[in-house]
């Protein structure tokens, strides 16, 4: 086993001793008749001889001081009644703020992202004894009264302030007291009296957590809204509220790309491979820290913007697990998320060298439009139409004409293909399915 030590019991003790460090006792009056109060020190009782000699300055002439509180562990017992599934693990997603090294400040922006896996801790009962050393009964009563009133029945104890430590909140309970070790009748020495209090702390001992860089395209939506009653009514009516403040943040995985094609979403490496070291990339493995795909609910969102992480106008697809291929998910594209068509719908994509009106295509009719993938100029059926691949041709009632000249267009255009009910996009001189393609890190995200 590798070494690890997180000072857990030490921290429990420190926090416990903190409870007893603030008490004072009244020590009579000074020369002016004013009350004298002395703070009572507390320290660990089971001390080392060398440290004890140093405390006394290596001299038996040095006096010990009272009142004084000593704390020490008497028992550490397994607590089987509090034991849970010993192999249980739990994951938490963590988003750090971005750190600006120049200013030394954390910015209100997403920074590093991690997944913290926590393993089930082991329950124990930590019994601690508190010895209260006093030199007279009144002093002892002063201290006892201040302490006893606190435990009704318990006090809250946190052993650290890390929000991800699932066992940080504990409590301390007083379970017994021993009034005095100097019983009546007095022994040979009546200088000091010791009263003991025994406390119980149900604690947990944690194994180390596993912190991994978050590897999921995972979207955290944090919407802050401020509105009046009318806007609240709008919200209840599920209508859009204008002028409300919203903040959207997303996190992306820098190591994984996806291919969206043929209604399937394939998980890839950055260099577009489906394997790593011969092992197939699996969606369920990729998602295991975050849950799993919820069929018909989880979404893929892809981005065709110029810059990664710019999520305006993204395309949305609803995901379903693939029945046979764990490297793929089935995608049902939400057409409402697609951009508006900029061109009149076409009746299909055709190869004019193989099909023509009345010969594989319906008879020519006014308004018929096709995208051509080759030049029909030499084909008699098209009556001498001169067009180039990627052009849109249209029948105007007497002849086929070019409606969209691809060679002369540089802008992105969108058109609906009536034959397949799919939207096409004209980009970089060619028509492609508007939402299909390969999306590198930063250009896609999942909502699981």
């Amino acid at each position: 086993m590798n070494y690890f030590y997180d000072r857990q019991i030490r921290r429990y003790l420190q926090q416990f001793m903190r409870f007893f460090a603030g008490f004072s006792v009244k020590m009579g009056k000074d020369a002016n008749g004013l009350d004298i109060y002395q703070k009572v020190p507390v320290r660990y009782g089971d001390i080392n001889r060398m440290a004890a000699h140093i405390l006394k300055n290596n001299s038996d002439n040095t006096m010990n001081t009272v009142p004084f509180i000593a704390v020490y562990i008497t028992e550490l017992l397994p607590a089987p009644e509090r034991r849970l599934n010993p192999t249980h693990t739990d994951s938490v997603q963590v988003y750090e703020k971005q750190y600006d090294a120049a200013s030394g400040q954390f910015l209100d922006q997403m920074g590093q992202t991690y997944t913290i896996q926590r393993h089930m801790p082991v329950p124990y009962d930590l019994n601690v004894q508190v010895d209260i050393w006093t030199s007279n009964t009144d002093q002892k009563l002063q201290l006892m009264e201040q302490i006893l009133v606190l435990f009704n029945p318990s006090l809250d104890l946190r052993n650290n302030d890390n929000v991800f430590d699932w066992s940080r909140m504990n409590f301390v309970e007083l379970i017994n007291t021993v009034w005095s070790v100097r019983q009546v009748p007095n022994g040979t020495d009546d200088v000091l009296d010791v009263a003991s209090m025994i406390f119980n702390m149900p604690i947990f001992i944690n194994p180390p957590a596993m912190v991994q860089r978050q590897q999921l395209i995972y979207n955290v939506i944090n919407t802050i809204r401020a509105g009046d009653q009318d806007e609240l009514n709008q919200l209840l009516d599920d209508t859009y509220i204008s002028d409300v403040q919203s903040k959207w943040q997303s996190v992306t995985d820098p190591e994984r790309a996806v291919r969206l094609a043929n209604g399937e979403l394939t998980l890839l490496t950055r260099d577009l491979k489906t394997t790593v070291d011969g092992d197939l990339l699996l969606w369920n493995k990729f998602l295991e820290s975050y849950g799993s795909i919820r069929n018909g609910i989880s979404q893929i969102r892809v981005n065709r913007q110029d810059r990664p992480g710019v999520w305006g106008g993204e395309y949305v697809g609803v995901l379903t697990e693939h029945p046979t291929d764990p490297n793929k998910l089935l995608v049902d594209v939400d057409h409402d998320s697609l951009p508006a068509n900029t061109k009149t719908a076409i009746n299909g994509v055709i190869d004019p060298t193989r099909a023509a009106p009345g010969a594989g295509l319906p008879a020519a009719a006014v308004g018929q439009r096709y995208i051509v993938v080759s030049s029909p100029a030499e084909i008699p059926a098209w009556a001498g139409l001169v067009a180039n691949p990627e052009d849109i041709i249209e029948y105007n009632g007497s002849a086929w004409v070019i409606s969209f000249d691809a060679a002369a267009s540089t802008a992105v255009e969108y058109v609906l293909n009536i034959a397949s009910n799919q939207q096409l996009a004209f980009m970089d001189g060619q028509w492609i399915l508007s939402y299909e393609g390969i999306f590198q890190p930063g250009y896609w995200r999942l909502l699981v």
Binding site: V25, P41, T65, V66, Q98, N136, F171, D190
Partner: protein
């Protein structure tokens, strides 16, 4: 002719002759013992408690008085500012340290010192009694671990005193006073000699472990505060986490969730089949109360107390707001009074005269 007898009912010249020789023996062979003479309980003023009389008011103030007639103890002691130098004799023995939670002890470090009775009474005015404090100069330690620390004497307090068996002469009259003395502790009883912790030059701060113990105690608290600086976890470097809530924030269960970082179930009755460690907010408690299920019960963690909820004591301690209360009230006569008062003493009838 009377029969020979050394016994006389009066202290005759035989007694005086022997006594002078014994005294001389102590002067020659004894060691110096510096006596801090107890002179009575330190007046604490009027307490209103008959078991703690105000001897100062009666102008009767001496060693015969007991400060607390219930516990029968003199915890505030007055010592003569003059220090009396007597000669005493005792056997020096070897001691072993005993390590306890309290620190190092020498359990066997109890001296049985004998003094010359008449010399003691002549100088001190009375016999040495329990509560008198000794300094033993010949045990002065001038080689402490800290080379800059001043040399310190060895201090003892008298626990018992009685006539010494070996102190009876042929006349059957006693000449010696045997004292049992234990090492002195830095305690309330001796503050008239040792001084107070607030005085950096006090004897207490030089010869007692109080200063070091206080430093240790403060270091433990500092370490604990470093781990848990305040009531709320530090999420200031995390994105999308609530920062410590506004002290004037909500008083409902949401306050706990802000604190914990994740939602916590809430309601007016506990879940039927809770898991170990499950948390639950009882919203029928005002303020709302956070419980955790441990073992076979729902254990209270703390209350959602506003606006002072950053105060651990106010949230965790049932009566925190009652104990940490420094506020003053003003009555109809315009007189200020502390609103925190012992329950046994609140609004009692006033005396007519």
């Amino acid at each position: 002719m009377p029969r020979l007898s050394l016994w006389r009912k009066d202290k005759t010249n035989d007694y005086k002759f022997i006594d002078r020789n014994i005294k001389e023996q102590f002067m020659i062979g004894g060691t110096s013992i510096l006596i801090h003479k107890y002179i009575g309980p330190d007046p604490q003023g009027e307490t209103g408690d008959p078991t703690q009389p105000n001897y100062q008011a009666d102008d009767v103030f001496n060693e015969t008085k007991i400060q607390d007639l219930l516990f029968l103890e003199n915890r505030d002691r007055k010592y003569d500012k003059d220090i009396y130098d007597l000669r005493g004799v005792y056997n020096v023995g070897d001691n072993d340290f005993d390590l306890t939670q309290f620190g190092l002890f020498i359990n066997t470090d109890v001296l049985f010192i004998t003094f010359h009775l008449n010399d003691m009474i002549e100088r001190l005015g009375r016999k040495i009694m329990a509560g008198d404090v000794f300094e033993v100069p010949h045990q002065r330690d001038d080689t402490l671990l800290d080379p800059n620390a001043p040399a310190i004497n060895k201090w003892y307090v008298v626990q018992d005193a009685s006539k010494a068996a070996e102190g009876y002469s042929q006349t059957w009259w006693p000449h010696l006073w045997r004292v049992k003395a234990a090492p002195l502790t830095d305690a309330q009883e001796y503050k008239d000699i040792l001084g107070q912790a607030t005085d950096p030059d006090s004897l207490k701060n030089q010869i007692s472990t109080y200063v070091k113990e206080k430093e240790i105690s403060d270091a433990i608290v500092a370490a604990a505060e470093q781990e848990v600086p305040d009531l709320f976890p530090d999420v200031s470097t995390l994105f999308n986490y609530e920062t410590p809530p506004d002290p004037n924030g909500p008083t409902d269960a949401a306050g706990f969730e802000e604190y914990y970082g994740v939602p916590i179930a809430s309601g007016v009755i506990f879940p039927g089949n809770p898991q170990q460690g499950e948390m639950f907010i009882r919203t029928d408690f005002l303020p709302n109360r956070l419980f955790v299920y441990r073992g076979g019960r729902w254990a209270r963690l703390y209350d959602n107390v506003f606006p002072s909820r950053t105060d651990v004591v106010s949230r965790s301690v049932n009566a925190g707001g009652f104990i940490n209360n420094d506020t003053q009230g003003v009555n109809l006569d315009g007189q200020a009074y502390p609103t925190r008062q012992p329950i046994s003493g609140v609004v009692k009838p006033r005396t007519d005269f």
